[in-house]
């Protein structure tokens, strides 16, 4: 699991980026630093226990990456490919995802709460026990995915497709259920508007 360390800049309350002394605001050449942190070795990307709060990542291919124990809170991902990646025990809360492709990914025990997702694909994914509390999703597709035990309490979903999904023990507290396409999904196994115990 990532370890949080304070930024070296006096009076700054942000955490330093992993392996650096300063945070995403105070580190010089932060884009190059983040790119180096996310680079693969021997053709494989393994991101373990990284603390990269508030970073900006765009036009990057992380397909097949193994990401575990990381924190990307309040980060922005634009046109990033996470296709087929393994993402577990990681915190991507209050993040922004624009045109990101997670298709075929396995996302387990992760937190995306409070994030804003626009035009993203989570099709054909294993999404088990993922925290989507309070997300704002617009034009996001979860089709043919297993959403077992994931929670969408307080989520705002617009033009979201969840066709042919496994919704067993998934929790929804949606003010606008009509905006979600649940065709061919087992909605009877999901829990709607009942807060979990």
């Amino acid at each position: 699991m990532f370890v949080s360390r304070p930024c070296s800049e006096p009076s700054c309350k942000r955490p330093a980026l992993s392996g650096a002394a300063a945070c995403s605001v105070h580190l010089p050449a932060v884009a190059q630093y983040v790119a180096a942190q996310l680079a693969g070795r021997d053709g494989r990307v393994v991101l373990e226990d990284l603390d990269l709060v508030g970073v900006r990542v765009q036009d990057l291919d992380l397909s097949g990456a193994n990401i575990t124990g990381c924190r990307f809170t309040a980060s922005t991902f634009s046109r990033v490919k996470f296709a087929g990646c393994q993402l577990s025990l990681s915190f991507l809360d209050r993040a922004v995802f624009e045109e990101c492709d997670f298709s075929g990914a396995a996302i387990l025990n992760a937190v995306l709460a409070g994030s804003r997702l626009t035009a993203c694909s989570f099709e054909d994914c294993e999404i088990a026990q993922v925290n989507f509390l309070g997300i704002q999703a617009d034009r996001v597709r979860f089709d043919h995915s297993n959403l077992y035990g994931s929670r969408f309490i307080g989520a705002i979903l617009e033009s979201v497709s969840m066709r042919d999904c496994n919704l067993t023990r998934a929790f929804f507290d949606l003010p606008h259920r009509d905006a979600v396409d649940f065709r061919s999904s087992n909605t009877a196994e999901a829990v709607f508007q009942e807060v979990p115990a």
Partner: protein
Amino acid sequence: MKFFSLFSRLGFSNTYLVGPRGGGDAILVDPGVFDAALLQAVEANGLYVRSILITHAHNSHINGIRALRKVYDSQIYAAQPSVLDFPARRVQDGDRLDLGEFSVRVIGTPGHSIDSLCFQVGNLVFTGDSLSAGGTGTTRDGYARGLLLESIRRKLLPLGDEVLLFPGHGPPTKVGVEKLYNPLLGEKL
């Protein structure tokens, strides 16, 4: 720190394994089941389950103890003097435990059961059935409900927004996330 989350279909509960990065004595939280996946996580990382922390003694959180104790000589820490007839060291709110390289803080959060506990290890808090992502534990009556909400508000929410919460059921979360999105925490007592 090496950290693993394992899911049990028996009771749909989470078990957590915390160990030193280089191997050694590990802590297991709420062993609802002890199966091949858990054994693999322990052995492949050079760990030994020296301590077992029990948030509350409901079956879905303790059923793995019998098998576990056949493999590892572990000390159980719980609110009760015994768990499934195995002796346990009793702990209560405010206790601090030094378990290998980890310091564990015991936080009493009665309500779901009268003796429910949470355990804090660094920036991680294992909340059992007291607090989950967007929810809280079930309670027997209004008095227990009041106790639970009071203990969550007084002991868990002040820990800091970036503190990571690992519940007995469902996905992980953070204190800050629960403050913003958990609809039950706004309930009046």
